[in-house]
Every structure is written in structure tokens, then in C-alpha cells.
């Protein structure tokens, strides 16, 4: 069995949230035990940033916890958590692209000001302003599409979900997918095929 020895990351000073009641900690732990890893994976794939994913995961569980009383018994807690997480991730991406836009404007102002101050000098301006995605609108759209795709992947049956994840997130070939999932290459191919078919059907 694989043993992994990751050093425990430091906890942000503002991250300490003390459960209000003894039962609260237990209920949160129950949700985290059942869905923590898969939601963290989901968030990390959308936002592609570990710190942001950790913040969003915490937000997701806090929101879920405060609304726990409203969740009807027998309703699908997993689907509900995925919805909360996906929305939180999309909001994060939106506010991030707003910040990026503000930074770019600021950079342009700085460049203009330094040009105005020294018209003989070389045009100033941090080069990172140019390195950003060429068009923030395109990136926003790509982020939203990625989030929507992973949200749909999350609803697939388990074998299909695993196969398509290995194929598109990890870019593995079918032999390797078969090795990791157990089963043969044809089965791996069939699972990916079924997943793609279903994703296409659902996106229409």
C-alpha cells in the first residue's frame, strides 16, 4: 500500500474556525470524511491552484454546514456539495479575472506615467502585463467551460468518471488506464467512449 508522507502545511491564521457545538464538528467531519477528497480534487481541477482550492474547500464545507439543517433527509448531499463547490470556484475565477484586469490597467497607468515623466527613456512597464492571457474574455470563458465540464464529469457513473479523468486530466493512454483501473484496454476504451457520449448528450 502506498504510504505518503506529505508534510502538513501551515494553517493560515485566519483559517481557525472553532466549531460552535460539539455536534457541529462531528457533522462537518462526517461530510469531510465522505466527500472531502473528491471535492478537493474537483476544486483543484477547476481553479488550478492549491491555496485557492483549500480556501474554496473550506468555504464549501462552511456553507454546507450552515445550510445543513435545510437539507432534507434523503436528498443527495454529494450533488449538493458539488453544486456549492462549483459555484464557489466559478465566483473565485470571476473575481480573479477582475483582479487581473485591474492589475493590467494599473500596469498600463504606471507605464504611461513613466513614459510621461521621461519621454526619452525606454518605454517602461512590467513585462508580466503582456504575459497575461491575450484576452481576458477568452480566459473567463475557458474557465467556465472547464468548470462546467468537471461538474458534468462528477455526475458520471464511477468507472466512466475514472476513465475519462485519467484520459483527459492525466492524458494517459488506454493501456495505462486499464492498468490503473484493473481490466483490459478494450474496457478502458469503452468506458471513455461511454463517458464522452454521455457528456455530449448532456451538453446539448
Amino acid at each position: 500500500m502506498r504510504a505518503e508522507q506529505g508534510a502538513r502545511p501551515p494553517i493560515g491564521a485566519d483559517a481557525a474556525v472553532v466549531p460552535c457545538l460539539p455536534g457541529d464538528g462531528q457533522r462537518l467531519a462526517l461530510l469531510l470524511a465522505r466527500h472531502g477528497l473528491e471535492l478537493a480534487r474537483h476544486l483543484r481541477r477547476i481553479v488550478r491552484d492549491d491555496d485557492a482550492a483549500a480556501d474554496l474547500l473550506q468555504d464549501t464545507f462552511l456553507r454546507a454546514h450552515s445550510a445543513l439543517g435545510r437539507l432534507r433527509a434523503g436528498s443527495n448531499a454529494r450533488a449538493w456539495l458539488y453544486r456549492i463547490a462549483t459555484n464557489a470556484a466559478l465566483n473565485h475565477l470571476r473575481s480573479r479575472s477582475r483582479e487581473d484586469a485591474a492589475l493590467r490597467r494599473h500596469a498600463a497607468d504606471v507605464a504611461a506615467a513613466s513614459l510621461a515623466g521621461d519621454r526619452q527613456g525606454a518605454p517602461a512597464g512590467p513585462d508580466w502585463a503582456e504575459r497575461e492571457a491575450p484576452n481576458p474574455g477568452d480566459r473567463r470563458q475557458a474557465d467556465a467551460q472547464r468548470a462546467a465540464l468537471w461538474a458534468r464529469v462528477a455526475t458520471l457513473p464511477e468507472r466512466q468518471r475514472l476513465a475519462i479523468t485519467l484520459r483527459i486530466a492525466d492524458e494517459l493512454d488506454y493501456a495505462e488506464i486499464a492498468r490503473r483501473m484493473g481490466g483490459n484496454e478494450a474496457a478502458a476504451r469503452a468506458n471513455v467512449h461511454q463517458a464522452v457520449k454521455r457528456l455530449k448528450r448532456e451538453s446539448r
Partner: protein, 202 residues
């Protein structure tokens, strides 16, 4: 292969480690559970019902007959206070070994177990029981004697009844002196099914 409900690990170590770090941060800040994680998984619909498995750093800590996932998770949370508990793909090797066992392909079922939370007598009972090979049976009295308490068949029975790692430590191979089945945490039909699988009874 029986199926769990959560997304499986992808086998991508870098991603798996990063994802686990993220959850552990959240676990600690929201619940105060900051120790080494305990991993769990369920096996639904095995021939002997639903099984709950828990894995620590040194081996299996639990293999139990369970009714509902929440009930198993809540019990683990109270039996392992301070430790984050995670539904994890790390139980995959154990699940695969159990699948092979139930299919009759690997009756020896060599899975590492961690018996640190049992009493000294119970540990001796379990260790002797673990030596009984598939296809054989022994008696409560004999196990009690081997564990250093001749005549304590009932105590041995109790020790076996609270075996934290059923099937892997084969307490189902221990019968009454008269050859009747005795008891079993998973129910007598399960005990009988396992003995039949192993060829100990026909």
C-alpha cells in the same frame, strides 16, 4: 469489483498528494482533527454483506460488517478522535485482495493488520487464530489454551467476537468444541458461507 461511491484516485501521485494536503488543511481548521489521517472505504454487496474497511499507517485497523456508511463513519470518528478520516482510494489494494478472496482465488488473504488497540489477551487470541489456515478450523477452547488461558473458552469467544479485522484475522475458523458454529459478528450465515468458500465444510 464492488464499487464505492466516490471518485477514484487517479493514480497520479502528485495530484493525489496535493489533494490530500488540501483536505487536511480544511479538516484541521474546521474540526481540529490534525493528526495522521485514517482512510476508509466500503465494499457493498459482498457475499457476506457490506464491509467497512479502515486503514492506518501500519495496516488495516478495521474490517467490519456494516449496515450504513454514515454509521461506520460516525463510529470511526469517535473511535479515532483527533484524526482526520478520509474516504480514499488507498483501500483499493485491500478491496482487490478481498475480491480475489471472495472469488476463491486467494484464500490466504495476506493483508497487513494493525492490532494496537486490543488487549494483550485479545491480541494473543487473534494472533493464534491468524495461524489457522484456510480450509481448517479450530475451537474456542484450543485458542484460549494457546493464548495462555486454558479453560477460558468463553473469554476467547468474546475476544474473537470483537475482532477489529474480521475475515483477515479469520475468527470464522473458530468453532465450538462440539463442531457447532458458535457465534459471529457478521451473523452465522456469513460464517457458514466463509467456511464453505474455504472448503472447511461441504
Amino acid at each position: 469489483m464492488t464499487s464505492g461511491k466516490s471518485i477514484r484516485p487517479t493514480g497520479n501521485d502528485t495530484e493525489d498528494r496535493a489533494v490530500e494536503r488540501i483536505v487536511r488543511r480544511t479538516y484541521e481548521s474546521l474540526t481540529g482533527r490534525g493528526g495522521e489521517p485514517l482512510y476508509y472505504a466500503l465494499m457493498d454487496d459482498t457475499p457476506v454483506g457490506t464491509l467497512g474497511l479502515a486503514l492506518g499507517e501500519a495496516g488495516l485497523r478495521r474490517l467490519e460488517f456494516v449496515k450504513r456508511e454514515d454509521e461506520f463513519v460516525e463510529r470511526l470518528l469517535s473511535e479515532f478522535p483527533g484524526r482526520p478520516l478520509l474516504h480514499s482510494l488507498r483501500l483499493e489494494p485491500a478491496r482487490r485482495a478481498l475480491d480475489r478472496y471472495f472469488a476463491g482465488r486467494d484464500l490466504a488473504l495476506n493483508l497487513p493488520v494493525d492490532l494496537r488497540d486490543v488487549t494483550a489477551f485479545q491480541r494473543r487470541v487473534l494472533e493464534w487464530t491468524a495461524r489457522v489456515p484456510p480450509g481448517s478450523v479450530t475451537t474456542y477452547a484450543r485458542v484460549a489454551a494457546r493464548a495462555g488461558r486454558p479453560g477460558a473458552a468463553r473469554a476467547a469467544g468474546n475476544a474473537l467476537h470483537s475482532n477489529p479485522v474480521a475475515i483477515v484475522v479469520p475468527c470464522h475458523r473458530v468453532l465450538r468444541g462440539d463442531g457447532s458454529l458458535g457465534g459471529y459478528a457478521g451473523g452465522l450465515p456469513a460464517k457458514e458461507w466463509l467456511l464453505r468458500l474455504e472448503g472447511a465444510i461441504l
